[in-house]
């Protein structure tokens, strides 16, 4: 696969505040790549750099090997789907989609066929003469996608395009976007703060925080092999505890020595240990490697979410077996469920469920959506 876009050592700041801190990233032809991170992590700025709406303070943006730092947006073979769609309210659906073709002076007949083709692809046939203001959110979204794709760009940039849709519609659109990407073979660069969305759609996920790239990898990579506590916590749920590497494939944490599958650390090196909540088995007290007291149980539909106090550290465990609050239980962790990470600046910040509550989580989610 060929590199289509390369970002090289890019730094960008606004009003003295560093937004991107020495970022390097390669984007390959024909892939669905997602920039994932909380609001303020720099993912939208990265997208705008590729679109040409911002220029880097230092570093280079390459498009098919050519430096394009100073190429204005209208000369880049890249189109954007904006967060709030940015449809032109004074034009109808047909004219919105035809806009880029008219700009390029495409012949009339060709415009007609290409617009019709695009509208068919996004299932909006028959809506040609409707005012865009009369469409629902999902329909507007599709017009925006059709408009961005009709010019056959090499790369499509999508800036949280699904954030304003309700849950059900969002799921449908995720699937649809994935299908469109496969059908057209255009490289999609997708920005989101929703990790589930990222996991389900992407070929490659770029996890960003505080203007830096934390990890680049496939969905499985970033989930199963997070590089640091930030990634582990941001993607899915994780219990992250301090541990000490006794030897290759042997780690000690929470007062117990576990077998594991990782190696290559120094002897007695302090590490972060990640255990996913669904990978912990509950057994009767005394029969497990660890034991603790259940402090809360929440029914989630497919499973229960159980918070267990183990020696003062709160673990989250997802189980299909019911346990009562205040029950004393034992816990078993298989070697391949234990993931060892090197200590990083994020160590100790995440992975403890002491202050956890569902409500709290949703509140902070809503906040980050609104402010991006």
């Amino acid at each position: 696969m060929d590199k289509i876009i390369e970002l090289k050592n890019i730094t960008k700041s606004f009003d003295g505040e560093v937004v991107l801190d020495n970022i390097s990233l390669d984007i390959y032809d024909n892939e669905f790549i997602t920039l994932l991170g909380p609001s303020g992590c720099g993912k939208t700025t990265t997208l705008r750099l590729i679109g040409g709406f911002e220029t880097p303070d230092s570093g280079d943006v390459l498009f098919m090997g050519q430096r394009i730092n100073d190429v204005p947006p209208h000369k880049r073979n890249v189109n954007t789907v904006f967060q709030r769609y940015a449809l032109f309210p004074h034009l109808n659906v047909f004219e919105n989609v035809a806009f880029p073709l008219r700009e390029r002076k495409v012949p009339r007949d060709e415009i007609e066929t290409r617009v019709e083709e695009m509208l068919a692809m996004v299932a909006l046939k028959g809506f040609e003469h409707r005012a865009v203001t009369s469409l629902s959110g999902g329909q507007q979204q599709r017009v925006a996608i059709a408009r961005a794709l009709v010019g056959k760009p090499r790369v499509l940039l999508l800036d949280e395009p699904l954030a304003a849709l309700d849950l059900k519609l969002r799921k449908d659109m995720q699937q649809e976007l994935k299908n469109i990407q496969k059908a057209t073979g255009i490289t999609f660069v997708f920005v989101t703060h929703d990790q589930e969305e990222a996991l389900s759609m992407s070929d490659t996920i770029v996890v960003m925080s505080e203007g830096r790239i934390q990890q680049i990898g496939s969905s499985q990579d970033v989930y199963n092999e997070p590089q640091n506590a930030f990634v582990a916590d941001f993607i899915g749920e994780s219990n992250i505890v301090d541990g000490v590497m006794l030897a290759d494939r042997s780690v000690s944490f929470s007062g117990h020595v576990f077998d594991c599958v990782d190696g290559g650390f120094g002897k007695n090196e302090p590490v972060d240990v990640v255990v996913r909540p669904e990978d912990v088995d509950i057994v009767p007290e005394g029969q497990g490697q660890l034991s603790g007291v259940v402090t809360s149980v929440t029914f989630m539909g497919v499973h229960y979410e159980v918070i267990v106090d183990i020696g003062g550290f709160k673990w989250m465990i997802q189980t299909t077996d019911f346990v009562g609050v205040d029950a004393h239980i034992g816990l078993v962790i298989e070697p391949d469920a234990i993931h060892i990470m090197k200590k990083s600046e994020y160590s100790g910040l995440y992975g403890d469920y002491a202050s956890f509550s569902n409500e709290f989580d949703e509140l902070s989610d809503a906040e980050s959506e609104g402010s991006e």
């Binding site: 709030r84 940015a86 034009l91 700009e103 005012a131």
Partner: protein
Amino acid sequence: MKKASKIFTALMFLFLFAPLVILLVFSFNEARSLSVFSGFSLKWYRELFRDTETLKAVRNTLVLAVCAAGVSTVMGTAAAVGIHRMRSKYLRSALDMVTNIPMINPDIITGISMMLMFVFASRLLGLANSLSFITLLIAHITFCLPYVILQVLPKLRQMDASLPEAAMDLGCTPWGAFWKVELPEIMPAIVTGLIMAFTLSLDDFVISYFTTGTGFQTLPIRIYNMTKKTVTPDMYALATIIFFVILALLLLSNLTDSEDSQKLRAARRAKRAASGRPPMDPRRRRILYACGGSLAVIAVVAAVVFAVTETDNKPQVLNVYNWGEYISDGSEGSMDVVKEFAAWYEEEYGRPVQVNYETFASNEDMYAKLSKNAISYDVIIPSDYMIARMIDEDMLLPLDFDNIPNYQYVDEDFRGLYYDPEDMYSVPYAYGIVGVIYNANVVDEADTGGWDLMWNEKYAGQVLQFNNSRDAFGTAMYRAGIDVNTTDRSQWDLALESLLEQRRSGVVRSYVMDEVYNMMESGEGAIAAYYAGDYFTMLDAQAEGVDLRFYYPERTNFYIDAMCIPSCCQNKELAEIFINYMLSKEPAIANAEYTYYASPNRLVYEDPDYIEEMGEEAMAILYPDWGDFAEKYNTYAYRNLDNDLLDYINSLWETLKIN
């Protein structure tokens, strides 16, 4: 409670719209009077379209409004876009505030400061005329600008900031993105701004008054200057037309703005569903309708006005500055003196001439404009005392009487008068004498003859006294035989006593200026002192049951208005030719017949046709036998008093009004 609020609402609407209804009704009145409706007629509308000076003023106003609205809309939109794109928040809000200041600034301050700036700038550049159409236009653009910005800026802020980015993303240059996406998006606000600027410019008086130059009089200024006589009813007709034009514009601009109107939207949706065909984008259509409609309204009005007045761009220019309604202007079948002069001149001299005829409302107004050197006129027609003052201040040029042979027809009585003792600077145009007007159905013939009638307690509540100090004191001083130009303050105190007595005795109904016409015509007042010429105006409009008559007391005020050439004159010979023309038979008679004032010109008052036209009675009143006119005039006419004395008289006047 419900009933009360209904009544209140009704009262409010009455309060708001009664003046407009009255204006509308009286624009269709057969007669001139405001007190009697004597039948439906389109007479005043016809008159309006014959009044070339007024139509020219309308045309000027429209040209100005279109130019000012156009330029300020373009500039204002550009400024709004500029302010909107500023990165610094502080600079942006500071600019926002600064552009708002002219809106809250009183017009009078804007007007005066602009006039000073223009005069200053032209001195700096060494220009002769500092005020012109251009300065007026600049002033109008200046005060319209903030309103346009105020309309456009919020619309820009409302707009999704990613719209222009999306356009660029899809292949537009930044300039193209502005034209194709941003501009259509803010167009409703631009149209509203345009219409606002147009209406603001259309009805501005104060700022225009200070900043306009020669050759360009707007409609509001012309109407204001008509107050020498009363405002003629064709102005009601004009005001009615303007009201409906503005109303149409307002409705159109509301149409562009009613985006949030749910009703409209629902109606549109229903219509779309019913017709089954894909209509044009409704927003776009509404904007188009509004733009098109506004332009159509403006175009129709402009076309009508331009069709009636003809444009003439001629090299010779003569600027005449006269009282309002003080020249025969072609209305009611009379001669259009200004137009005829231009035609006569071209025939006589083989060169075209453009006459800019403008009017003022008082000697003091005229003096203020001329003394600022802000504008230049070639011929002015001030009153006697003002001529004396202007000669004193070197503001008039001596006339070359070789160019004014018709001066021979001016009666010998009008030579060597106090204001121009050597007859060097002025040629008398018209004169008037104050007499007493009374309603013969109320007043006993035996009580008439002197000033005592105005003090006669038999007619309690029937006397209308002047509402200005000089004229009111005049009546008391003539009555008592005191010199009206005395500098002896005790004499003025005596006159005050007399006026106080008049007031306390209850004979005075009210102190009036222009209201005198309506009050006398309707019979509301029975006795008033006023000029003979004005008596005829009232006579024409008197209501049934009113029988107005007139006499001169023995001692009374005279005034003479005379043609002069101010020192700022640009074409003295042309000015003298104009003065000479005004003295020739036809125009002189036309003017005398039009104004109803007495003419000092023998060609007029000895003309049998004129005498027949005026009637014996009117001739007797207008041209009474005074014996030695010059002596009477020099003895009794008001002269300029020094400022200290005027202040003193005004303080006495205050005492009277407070009591």
